[in-house]
Subunit: 138 residues, 3 copies
C-alpha cells in the first residue's frame, strides 16, 4: 500500500520549524499500520533534521554552530548573486538532510521521546517550502 | 511484504560500533529477496554512518575530526545542563544520519566490500540505544 | 512492486557528476507510478547529494568549502596509506549521503525545479563507482 501527500509550509526566515504533527497526520490518513514514512524537501536552501524537541537552546545552538561553520558573506564563496546567505544555505542543506525516512509502527510514527522532525529554513527571508510525504507498508 | 524488528545496543560510551551483522540477520529473518532495508536510530545524541570497515584508524580519525569541529565544552553552546559532551553530540547527530536505507538483493544486504553500518555513540558515558529495522520488498 | 537496477559510473576524479537523468530512466523502466526511489552508493570515498543544478559555481563552492573543512594531507589524520586525499574522502562521505530517497509521482521523480542528484567523487584520481537504484510502489 502506498499513500502520498504534499505539504506546504510558509517559513518566517532562517530557523527550525517542527513538523512532527503534520507528518503524524499523514501517517494516520494513510491507513498503513507497519512500514516506512519518507519525507522529502523539494528545495536546496532548506533542509530536514531529526533533533531534540525539549530544550529550544539545542536549535539555537545549531544555528550558532552553522553560522560559524559556513558564515554568511564568506569571501571564499563565488555564488553570491542571490545574497550573502545563499551559498551558506546550500552548504547547510548538503551537510544535513533533504530526505528522511522514519518507521511506521501500529499506525503511528516511532520517533523517540525527545525526537522531532524539523524543517530548517536556511535563507534569512521568509520562503514557501513544499514537502512530499510518502508512506509505504501494509 | 514488510518485516519490522527492534534492536537494542549497549554502548561503552563515545565511539563507533559495527552493527552490519545484526542488520544482515534481520534481512535474513524477513524472507524478503529484493527491496530496501531501513535502519532508524531513536536518539538525538547518537547516530548512524556507513563507513570503511577495514582500517580502524578511519573511525579514530573521524573522532579526531569531530572533536575539532564540535569540541566538548565549547563556549559558544548554551545547552550545557547535561554536560560538556551533550550539545556536541546533537551537532554530530545532525551532521551524520539518524536513518539509513540499504538495498536488499538476493535476500542479503548489498553493502560494498569495505562498507560497514556503524552506530556512532556521541556521549562519553555508556548508553542504551534502540534501533528499528524495517525491510520492505518481495 | 519492486524494481532494482545497478548503474556504473566512471569518474574523472574529484568533482560532482549529475546523475538525475539516469535515475529518471530507472524510474521509467520500473513501471511504478507512485512510491519511492532509493539510490545507494556502494563506496566510502564518494557520496551522493541533492544540490542546485543551475549555477555551476554552487558545486565549485562546495568543493572550496570541503577543502577547507577537511584539507588533504591534514596532519591530524593517521589513515594516510592510500594518499593525502583518502581520509578527507571518508570525512566528506560521512558528512554527506551514501543513500538518498526521492518520491515517485505519476511515474516520474519529483525533484524540485533546481534540484539535481549528484555523485560526488572525493578521490583526486578517476574511479569506477557502482550505484544501486531500487524503486518501490504501485
Amino acid at each position: 500500500m502506498v499513500h502520498q501527500q504534499q505539504l506546504r509550509f510558509s517559513t518566517a526566515g532562517r530557523g527550525t520549524y517542527e513538523i512532527s504533527d503534520e507528518i503524524e497526520q499523514v501517517i494516520g490518513a494513510s491507513g498503513i499500520n507497519t512500514g516506512i514514512c519518507q519525507i522529502f524537501n523539494h528545495h536546496t536552501s532548506s533542509s530536514l533534521i531529526l533533533c531534540e524537541n525539549a530544550d529550544p537552546a539545542v536549535r539555537s545552538d545549531l544555528e550558532t554552530f552553522m553560522k560559524k561553520l559556513a558564515p554568511d558573506g564568506d569571501g571564499m564563496f563565488r555564488h553570491i548573486d542571490e545574497g550573502p546567505d545563499d551559498m551558506p544555505a546550500h552548504v547547510r542543506t548538503v551537510l544535513t538532510q533533504s530526505t528522511l525516512s522514519i518507521p511506521v509502527h501500529n499506525g503511528r510514527h516511532t520517533l523517540g521521546t525527545w525526537q522531532g522532525v524539523y524543517l530548517w529554513e536556511h535563507r534569512t527571508r521568509p520562503h514557501k517550502r513544499s514537502i512530499t510525504v510518502t508512506v509505504i507498508g501494509e
